[in-house]
């Protein structure tokens, strides 16, 4: 049942890709300002869940609302920028792009004057403590530095929801702790709703976040 303060609501969502059932009758309700980790083994459907919430993956049956709008509707298209996304693959992108240009992507579709856009980019980098990475080449940064830039990119969008796909999977323990502290802080200070997918046992054992276990396409 959908809650009145729900930021993300999924009811009976089914996703099948090439005849394989990835998500089955999935129900999820995430309140605004909540932080939640979706845990589960590889192939459980965690990444697909995030892709469905973002509108990147079509679903077969069920209803899905994000920030009060049905995903895929015209209303949702208008405010899909309110959902920031950090994915696994971006960490291995081998494209000559600078740290600042990566963060700039978050502000690229915002109708802002040039000066305001620049200010927002610099503010986001400062908030994430990665201003020194502005002119560094993205492909040559460490995993932790790339994740900080990715989160700064999302902050540029002025998001209400952050979706993160295994943001700590390729990080050393110190960087992992740093990223988790940053996310915790963003949730506390900016009341960002955070949905994070992880099967990192260290993160799961140390966290105080709500944890939902996904197995074979449904919550256990």
């Amino acid at each position: 049942m959908a809650r009145a303060d729900a930021c993300i609501t999924a009811e009976g969502v089914n996703v099948a890709i090439d005849g394989h059932q990835i998500l089955r009758d999935l129900c999820l309700s995430v309140s605004c300002g909540e932080r939640i980790i979706v845990a589960g083994p590889n192939g459980a459907g965690k990444t697909t869940l995030l892709r469905v919430i973002l509108g990147l993956q079509r679903w077969n049956t069920g209803t899905l609302q994000v920030l009060g709008a049905p995903v895929g509707s015209r209303e949702w298209s208008r405010h899909r920028r309110k959902v920031g996304y950090v994915n696994q693959e971006a960490i291995s992108v081998d494209f000559p792009i600078s740290g600042k240009e990566v963060v700039e992507i978050g502000a690229c579709a915002l109708p802002l004057p040039k000066r305001e856009r620049r200010r927002r980019i610099l503010d986001a980098m400062e908030a994430m403590g990665c201003s020194h990475l502005q002119h560094r080449m993205y492909a040559r940064l460490s995993g932790g530095e790339k994740q900080k830039l990715s989160i700064a990119r999302c902050l540029c969008q002025d998001p209400a929801v952050l979706l993160l796909d295994e943001p700590t999977s390729s990080l050393d323990p110190a960087s992992r702790r740093e990223v988790m502290d940053i996310l915790h802080d963003l949730n506390e200070r900016q009341k960002l709703t955070i949905v994070m997918v992880s099967h990192d046992s260290q993160v799961l054992s140390e966290t105080t976040w709500r944890i939902e276990h996904l197995e074979a396409g449904g919550f256990a």
């Binding site: 973002l54 509108g55 992507i105 690229c108 579709a109 002119h135």
Partner: protein, 272 residues
């Protein structure tokens, strides 16, 4: 014949201008090809342009415009098939590559098109450009430069990661189709200019060399264009000096630069 004399001949002057314009701006499409892994698509577009040229010759339409039209149609079809079927662009492009070359041979045979004329598009001729061809090349160069500079952050978002571009609010599907169209037009124009066999020297090699040296997306585009301009200008003058075809000298210079780039990269990696 000295340079001043050579430039007094309109075909040579037009060829020089077209080559410089192409060298300065077309490598932007090379960056698209490299980054979006459109190497197969580029082959498909060559085949589609050949089909267009064959149709043009059969129907007495300018082969350049017929090639452009078939390339644009092929791009739209490939983007649609890839989106609807879930195939990668590479698979969809392979399907159309086979289809268009098959159709090209059928048209050449059935319409009695002299194969010499149809296959002339494979080696092009920089000195056979009409004023219209030059104007189209210049207009296209302005269009791609405006597209990249005006929409730079969105374009770099798509080149960085298409899903992240979508999540950032970019109309990723429309922008990708536009990028594919620019690649298609670049291929068709360059086929007329230096031929299908050598177009990579202006389209792709400058972008590959720039990928070794660039440290930012802006730098990537800028350096690719700079290297393309260098190759086309140096290639043109060396072709006059050595009395070899301009397309060959442009290609040899670009290939030498790429070789030098690879050696320097290897040395830099060993040192680090």
């Amino acid at each position: 014949m000295n340079i001043a004399q050579a430039f007094s001949y309109p075909p040579i002057l037009r060829g020089f201008l077209a080559l410089v314009i192409a060298g300065c701006f077309f490598p932007m499409a090379g960056v698209f090809i490299l980054r979006l892994n459109l190497v197969t698509l580029r082959f498909t577009l060559m085949h589609a342009a050949l089909l267009g040229a064959a149709l043009g010759l059969a129907l007495h339409v300018d082969p350049l415009f017929a090639g452009l039209a078939v390339d644009v149609l092929a791009i739209v079809a490939i983007a649609r098939v890839a989106r609807e079927s879930g195939l990668t662009l590479g698979y969809a492009a392979t399907f159309f590559m086979v289809l268009t070359i098959g159709l090209a041979f059928a048209v050449i045979y059935k319409a009695g098109v002299p194969s010499k004329d149809a296959f002339g598009i494979l080696w092009g001729s920089v000195y056979s450009l009409s004023r219209t061809d030059l104007a189209v090349t210049a207009a296209y160069a302005v269009a791609i430069a405006l597209f990249v500079s005006a929409l730079f952050p969105r374009v770099s978002a798509v080149l960085f990661h298409r899903e992240i571009a979508f999540a950032s609010g970019v109309n990723e599907a429309a922008l990708t189709t536009t990028i594919l169209l620019f690649v298609g037009i670049s291929v068709a124009l360059l086929m007329k200019l230096i031929g299908a066999l050598l177009l990579d020297s202006i389209l792709l090699l400058p972008a590959i060399i720039a990928s070794f040296t660039a440290r930012s997306a802006r730098g990537f585009f800028f350096q690719a264009c700079l290297i393309g301009a260098l190759c086309s200008i140096a290639g043109f003058f060396s072709s006059l000096a050595l009395d070899v075809p301009a397309s060959s000298s442009v290609t040899v210079i670009a290939a030498c630069l790429l070789g030098a780039g690879l050696v320097l990269r290897r040395i830099a990696r060993r040192r680090s």
